[in-house]
């Protein structure tokens, strides 16, 4: 791993005269150092020792989780202390807790992306990973708390010989759709964002297996501008689709409670209250993970104090929202003059489970107030402690809502009590094992920071390599090729002091005549500006079959190349409309009265009454319509992207060039194909040679 000298830059100072740098140290100034630092985590021969220790503990907990689930399945749901009236307790508490944590990732990747919050680039990748693993833990609990979990697929609408359809008007089914859609979209988002970074892993691979594994995972990504163009649009579309989704998931989870009539549950404040709580707990978990991770993997230059400071501010704001929601609940209980509501809220604080109520209140509303102080926000120990307490508090919030809500109902005759069995406690601890095992494996084997995105926000990234141009913070270049050696002519090697790994590739890359057919001419640039100007020249010369390649999307290059806008948004719109139509027709057909179904035989619907709603009740049908719209649109975005750029193509002639391996690292390339109508050996070569390139090299097809 690169040892990065910490520069004495304090990027937490707010100075309106200049923007604070987001990435510190050498990575903050050199594209290559970003790759070095991030890939170093995965390329190190051995991960750091704490990693082994953490993985050991996590896998132990995971094993316990497995044992508990096996025991549960073989013995029955009675091994949990659930009974009337507390029929939901640890299981649903854990579900809501994990889903809540799963909110931060997509919030960071989607909402902050739309708001152009560039500091998100350092943390979005592992926050997204955290989201996916948290949602997996969340999905586990409703699945295992089904009496017969092997029939979980009955919740999916499909024509069946029972003539049954899921109850589309039930909040529990909305939940299934919301969490399922959220998981799918988060996964697509995560993977799509990772592809360029996986390509960096591939191109840096020295061993065969690394190359092939990361090569397959990166689908043959080559940083082509024609690909970046569609890719950026797809990323934006997914962010736009995920944004309402983030807000919807916990709203729908809150409907599980708010739609019921129980005192303390039946409240209109629940959806915003739950969403704020989810973001609150999600950010707390991100910080909880980020602080040890930046320590363990040497990422302090990427996840800087400024990042922690920003996240602490989000935690503070959402803490205030949650505190406000608590106040609203207590106020409404008093103001409603409903004795059951009033009793419920008194019971929270002074009933038999008073300790749960106070833990929730203190951890969520009082403790985070220390984050008003900058010293607390920037002291990792204080911040870490606050975040752990927030995690505890948010778990207790769900416990309070569910268990205290259930154990004192309207009728004193149906009151009961609840305490967890050891199986429930160990299952909960075990879910942390699942979460941490996946997270630790992710840290070791996948790009933990979005390199391509970080490169895009470096001051370096937009300007040229020339010192002093574009930004002031530039330190002497670490690139092997000096800036004074630009403008090499023709395919003749320039006199630049080429790095040792390139010298030998030179010989390889320029074989003698009996070689196979010439496929194209590849020009290398050491800055995006040079590439931009070259692209304009090649475009004006009227070439058709050519392309630019860069480690991150270079702004303005689309126009410089004359790329036409992609049709992807229209495809996504169409898919979204189809999804909405499918959802409307499905719900109308399956739940509407039997006028339709009588003729349809086995495929007929099964109208059922939920919460006294009419069979066809548009407001109650909206959640499913929304989820399917987003799901269809997101799937179209993802698969449409790969279809439009025709990507899983692992072979590309330029991959044979050793220089081209740096296209996912810190170099920029322009390639003119030999089968272009305008291509003529000499003029084309001269055109490229006259574009301020480092070198022009021949690319051959096998």
């Amino acid at each position: 791993m690169a040892t990065v000298a910490l520069q004495e830059i304090d990027n937490t100072v707010e100075d309106p005269r200049q923007r604070a740098t987001l990435i510190l140290g050498e990575p903050g100034t050199s594209l290559h150092e970003v790759s070095e630092a991030i890939c170093g985590v995965a390329e190190a021969r051995h991960p750091p020792k704490p990693w082994y220790a953490a993985l050991g503990i996590a896998m132990l907990a995971l094993g316990l989780l497995g044992l508990m689930i096996v025991y549960l399945f073989f013995t029955g749901i009675g091994v949990w202390n659930l009974n009337r009236p507390v029929a939901w307790a640890f299981d649903i508490t854990n579900f809501v807790f994990w889903v809540g944590i799963g909110h931060a990732g997509t919030l960071i990747s989607a909402i902050l992306f739309l708001f152009r919050q560039k500091w998100r680039t350092s943390i979005n990748r592992f926050a997204e990973a955290m989201t996916i693993f948290a949602v997996m833990c969340a999905g586990l609990f409703p699945a295992i708390h089904l009496g017969r979990p092997w029939f979980f697929y009955w919740m999916i609408p499909y024509p069946n010989q029972m003539g049954m359809w899921p109850g589309f008007l039930s909040p529990l089914l909305w939940d299934m759709f919301a969490v399922g859609t959220y998981f799918t979209v988060s996964l697509l988002f995560w993977y799509m964002g990772m592809v360029p970074d996986l390509a960096t892993f591939r191109d840096r691979a020295t061993g065969r297996f690394r190359y092939y594994i990361y090569g397959v995972l990166s689908l043959g990504w080559r940083g082509s501008q024609r690909h970046w163009h569609v890719y950026e649009k797809a990323y934006l579309l997914l962010a736009a689709l995920a944004t309402p989704l983030v807000l919807s998931v916990h709203s729908v989870v809150s409907f599980d409670f708010a739609v019921a009539q129980l005192p303390g549950w039946h409240s209109i404040v629940f959806p915003p209250y739950f969403v704020a709580g989810a973001i609150f707990s999600g950010f707390a978990m991100v910080v909880t993970l980020a602080i040890p991770a930046r320590e363990m993997f040497g990422l302090k230059n990427f996840i800087t104090l400024r990042h922690l400071d920003n996240m602490a501010k989000v935690i503070l704001v959402t803490s205030l929202m949650v505190a406000y929601a608590y106040a609203t609940e207590f106020f409404m209980a008093w103001y409603s003059a409903s004795q059951w509501e009033q009793f419920h809220f008194l019971n929270r604080l002074f009933g038999p489970m008073w300790w749960a109520g106070w833990t929730m209140l203190i951890c969520n509303a009082v403790v985070p107030q220390v984050l008003w102080f900058k010293k607390a926000r920037q002291n990792v120990w204080i911040l870490f402690t606050v975040c752990i307490l927030v995690n505890v508090g948010m778990w207790f919030e769900r416990f309070v809502i569910i268990v205290i809500g259930l154990h004192r109902d309207f009728l004193p005759s149906s009151w009961g009590s609840y305490y967890p069995s050891y199986v429930e406690v160990v299952t909960f601890i075990g879910s942390f094992g699942l979460f941490l095992t996946l997270f630790l494996l992710f840290c070791r084997y996948l790009p933990i920071v979005a390199m391509a995105e970080v490169k895009g926000i470096l001051p370096h990234g937009h300007g040229s390599n020339e010192p002093g141009q574009g930004h002031d913070a530039a330190v002497p270049q670490t690139d092997e090729i000096g800036t004074s050696d630009k403008g090499a002519v023709g395919s003749v090697a320039d006199s630049a002091p080429v790095a040792s790994r390139d010298v030998d590739s030179f010989a390889v890359a320029r074989p003698t005549p009996p070689a196979p057919k010439l496929w194209g001419l590849l020009a290398e640039y050491d800055s995006s500006d040079a590439l931009l100007k070259a692209a304009e020249k090649v475009r004006d010369a009227g070439y058709k079959r050519w392309d630019c390649f860069s480690p991150f999307p270079v702004h303005g290059l689309d126009r410089a190349m004359g790329i036409r806008a992609t049709i992807l948004p229209w495809m996504v719109l169409a898919a979204g409309l189809v999804g909405a139509a499918v959802a409307v027709i499905l719900q109308w057909y399956t739940n509407s009265p039997q006028t339709v179904s009588a003729q349809a035989g086995a495929l007929s619907g099964y109208p059922m009454i939920f919460s006294g709603k009419p069979f066809w009740s548009l407001p109650a049908n909206i959640p499913i319509v929304f989820e399917l719209t987003v799901l269809f649109a997101a799937l179209m975005t993802f698969f449409g992207l790969w279809a439009l750029i025709r990507l899983p193509r692992l072979h590309f002639p330029a991959f044979a060039s050793r220089r081209f391996r740096r296209v996912t690292d810190d170099r920029f390339f322009l390639l003119v194909q030999a089968n272009d109508e305008k291509y003529h050996s000499k003029p084309t070569r001269n055109l490229l040679a006259g574009t301020n390139c480092v070198v022009v090299e021949d690319v051959f097809d096998e």
């Binding site: 499909y158 024509p159 069946n160 010989q161 029972m162 003539g163 049954m164 691979a205 020295t206 065969r208 190359y211 092939y212 090569g215 043959g220 040792s500 790994r501 010298v503 030998d504 590739s505 390889v508 039997q594 179904s597 009588a598 035989g601 086995a602 007929s604 099964y606 025709r646 990507l647 899983p648 193509r649 692992l650 072979h651 991959f655 044979a656 050793r658 391996r661 096998e702």
Partner: protein, 224 residues
């Protein structure tokens, strides 16, 4: 220089994308086949015809001789379960008719030893389904509606799928399946003016009212 070897993917791997696409196409095909299989009558056991220990022929007894169902299945009007006849009922006639036939050997043995004949159950409902014969027979649902043309069966087989969707067909709208109570066991009953759908509909409506048929589709009707 010992630069690390430059790995690349061979050219044919570009076809992998096409392969992947074809692979994805198999998913809807698979799902389609799965549904077709699931809805297939054979999957639902239609035509299930186990070999019975005694070669008893409904075709002879019901079709040719015209015996009433209730002569053997005695409890069908009173209880949920339509009893299988005891050997005594067989012997009411077979004491004198063909008593020594080889086909009767097992029945004779059962009669002498007092052990039941190990009939194989053909219409086996799942344990989580509550079905009551008397509730159906007494409101005019003919035997033939569920058991098919038993009077033509040499060996009894399952004529209808007996799956939930099939039950629901009638429970949602029982009118077309109702007949006068005294015609329940009549395998050859046809409503008057059978070719007049209107008359059939009127009859169904009348019977539903007269017999107070409340074919519920509540879960608890069948799953108790």
């Amino acid at each position: 220089m010992d630069a690390p070897r430059l790995w690349t993917f061979p050219k044919w791997t570009n076809l992998a994308g096409v392969g992947l696409l074809l692979g994805l196409l198999t998913v809807p095909v698979y799902l389609g086949l799965l549904l077709a299989y699931g809805a297939n009558a054979t999957t639902l056991n239609v035509g299930y015809q186990p070999k019975q220990p005694v070669p008893y022929s409904h075709a002879v007894h019901v079709g040719k001789l015209g015996m009433d169902c209730r002569y053997c299945h005695t409890t069908v009007e009173q209880t949920g379960f339509a009893a299988l006849p005891s050997t005594d009922i067989c012997m009411n006639c077979h004491k004198t008719i063909l008593p020594d036939s080889a086909r009767m050997a097992l029945v004779q043995q059962s009669y002498v030893e007092g052990t039941p004949i190990p009939w194989k159950k053909v219409h086996l409902m799942a344990d989580y389904v509550y079905f009551n014969h008397s509730a159906h027979v007494n409101v005019g649902v003919g035997c033939i509606e569920c058991h098919g043309p038993v009077e033509q069966m040499e060996t009894v087989y399952m004529a209808k799928p007996l799956n939930m969707a099939w039950c629901l067909e009638c429970h949602r709208d029982p009118k077309p399946y109702l007949r006068p109570r005294d015609q329940v066991t009549n395998m050859n009953w046809t409503p008057q003016g059978a070719d007049n759908p209107r008359a059939r509909a009127d009859l169904g409506k009348k019977l539903e009212e007269n017999y107070h048929v409340r074919a519920s589709t509540d879960c608890v009707t069948c799953h108790r």
